[in-house]
């Protein structure tokens, strides 16, 4: 995963809600090595703003050499980005961070809160693909030829449809996994209100449950309220969102005794692990400074909930 700073060309930009934008940039060298849960740092053109803005990867399209970035206008930097149009350029540093560990075959919660939702989309896609591959090889083992070929195609086809196909296959090999194969990727999305950006895209990869703060759609309340109201369960949690949500999920995971991977945020300067700006407190002594500080930009942004203090 070689990091690079390069000038990317904007491939397109759409406005998703009042303050959320969806930008695709051509950055083949960054896309090449990127994995879900990683992020890039974007530079503004304003000389008064020296530090780059970290933005998670919402989509990685290696074939097109494109990255998809979905972000909220938080200040002057993101405001500037929101004005970019196809053909404009933007400097980008990446890919940064570790990414989510892939544990296919497990029944997973992919939980996004607010602007923590975008990185879960690429994870949903990747997990669904991995699940399909796993199902394919399991089927292949069981001799079910049809399922295997569907799985082999999954990479090239829209993942959702490949998965739907895979899920539709009769498969006696792994009954437990099979029972929920289409249900392995359960997305729980917490929104402020009914402006449910990206929601329909998650639906391609598995069931989607929604919580809204104002109660205008789905469960009124937060993502845990939705999980409880719907009586959902999982064997592993992946999550990104505001700290109170992450804290609640850490407690919930401990209670359930399941592993929980959280993507954290902190103010960053270098983005590559050199400046020690972006630490979180870790349970164990960290490898870098031998204290209890892990660098979110380098050792994270994804951590096992047990490893960190929130």
């Amino acid at each position: 995963m070689a990091k690079i700073k390069m000038t990317a060309v904007v491939a397109g930009q759409e406005q998703l809600t009042e303050d959320i934008f969806d930008m695709r940039i051509k950055a083949a060298q960054v896309a090449e090595d990127a994995v879900p849960g990683q992020f890039v740092s974007l530079y503004t053109k304003d000389g008064a703003k020296l530090l780059p803005r970290p933005i998670s990867l919402c989509g990685i399209d290696r074939e097109a050499g494109e990255l998809r970035l979905v972000y909220r206008i938080a200040g002057a930097g993101t405001k500037e980005f929101s004005r970019l149009k196809a053909g404009d350029t933007i400097d980008v540093l990446g890919p940064l961070g570790n990414g989510f560990p892939m544990e296919p075959g497990k029944k997973a919660f992919l939980i996004g809160g607010g602007i923590g939702i975008p990185p879960m989309l690429e994870l949903a896609k990747a997990l669904a693909e991995a699940n399909a591959r796993l199902a394919g090889s399991a089927s292949a083992q069981a001799g079910a030829q049809l399922a295997g070929s569907a799985s082999a195609q999954a990479g090239a086809q829209p993942a959702g449809s490949a998965l739907a196909q895979a899920g539709a296959q009769p498969d006696g090999g792994l009954p437990e996994q099979d029972g929920g194969r289409t249900g392995l990727v359960q997305s729980i999305l917490g929104y402020r209100d009914s402006q449910m950006f990206l929601k329909h895209e998650f639906e391609a990869f598995g069931p989607v449950h929604v919580a809204t703060e104002d109660g205008s759609a789905g469960t009124a309340g937060n993502v845990l309220d939705a999980i409880r109201e719907q009586g959902l369960s999982a064997d592993i949690i992946y999550a990104c969102g505001p700290t109170p949500m992450l804290r609640a999920l850490k407690a919930y995971a401990a209670e359930q005794g399941i592993p929980c991977f959280l993507s954290l945020e902190e103010k960053m300067a270098c983005g590559v692990g050199a400046c020690l700006a972006c630490v979180c407190q870790s349970k164990d002594v960290d490898g870098h400074s031998q204290v209890h500080n892990k660098r979110i930009c380098k050792d994270g942004p994804v951590f096992l909930a047990d490893e960190i203090e929130l």
Binding site: A2, K3, I4, K5, Y43, G47, A48, K49, L50, L51, P52, L93, E266, K267, M268, A269, C270, G271, V272, G273, A274, C275, L276, A277, C278, V279, C280, H288, S289, Q290, V291, H292, N293, K298
Partner: protein
């Protein structure tokens, strides 16, 4: 064309290094730049024992710069010697170890531990504004500067560089004190103490309330202090503070710096160090300067 400079008997292939604390021990930026191309790598401040540093947020962007209050998080000298020095020894570049401490004994402890290590110089940070004890307290009183310089010098096997704080009324007083204490070189400037407030949260932007201001915003202050110091002392100066490229570096060299360090610029452009080397080289070519020593202190 000769870009090499000599500081306290140590020869550097070129006058460009990076500034302590912005580059770790080089591991991370070695993904972007060839460390062999740098005059030296200056490591993040290291103490006798691990320091956890300050709570977050530790940095905030400001107009043309940033403030930081990392608080000198570091793994302590043992890990540093075991892990970071061997890493740096792989490269053909000078190694300058930046040393921090809470007491004079802390500094001496680290310096002694480094005595038999293959490092080229020691930079003694008596100017960090972000720790409660030690750091800047040493750097704002000429008597303390002289005393700690003497104490460290007495125990150091490598030549030492005293790193001065700009948060003083008269930088030349501190520089002379360091010279009187027997320092081999002086580096300046460390950061200017600054603050930022989040008006919407009505809270300090940094957990530490104040932090050190760095970046091009402070360059005029840094350059003025390098110039004043060059007029006041005989020891060589390593200049830093807001250097973004070769042109900025040349200002410092013309003002009297024998070498320059690139700090905050790395965050804006991870290639800033090598690009600065190239920028100086092309300036020298353009004006037919065949030895960089012709430029050092040429404006007075």
């Amino acid at each position: 064309m000769d870009m090499s400079v000599k500081i306290a008997g140590v020869e550097f292939k070129n006058p460009v290094m990076e500034a302590s604390g912005t580059f770790g021990s080089g591991v991370e930026y070695s993904e972007f730049v060839d460390l062999n191309k740098l005059g030296a790598v200056v490591t993040k401040g290291v103490a006798n024992v691990p320091w956890p540093g300050n709570p977050t947020p530790r940095i905030a962007e400001t107009y043309g710069g940033m403030i930081n209050a990392i608080g000198l998080q570091n793994p302590g000298i043992d890990v540093f010697i075991k892990r970071d020095i061997p890493f740096l020894r792989q490269y053909d570049t000078r190694i300058i170890v930046n040393v921090c401490g809470r007491t004079t004994e802390d500094y001496i402890d680290v310096v002694e531990r480094l005595g038999d290590e293959p490092v080229d110089m020691l930079e003694i940070n008596i100017s960090c504004p972000n720790v409660k004890e030690g750091g800047i307290a040493f750097g704002q009183d000429p008597k303390a500067v002289e005393a700690i310089t003497k104490a460290v010098k007495a125990h150091a096997k490598q030549p030492i560089i005293m790193k001065l704080s700009p948060n003083v009324t008269d930088i030349t007083v501190m520089a002379k004190a360091a010279q009187a204490g027997g320092t081999d070189a002086i580096s300046l400037i460390n950061t200017l103490t600054g603050m930022k407030i989040d008006i919407h949260k009505r809270a300090f932007a940094l957990a530490n309330k104040t932090g050190g201001l760095s970046g091009p915003a402070i360059k005029p202050v840094a350059l003025r202090m390098v110039y004043q110091t060059a007029q006041a002392v005989q020891v060589p100066i390593i200049g830093m503070g807001g250097i973004m490229n070769g042109e900025d570096a040349l200002e410092f060299i013309l003002a009297g710096a024998s070498a320059v360090a690139i700090g905050t610029a790395n965050f804006h452009n991870p290639y800033a160090t090598v690009e600065t080397v190239e920028g100086i080289r092309s300036y020298m070519e353009r004006y037919g300067i065949d030895d960089i020593s012709q430029l050092i202190g040429a404006v007075r």
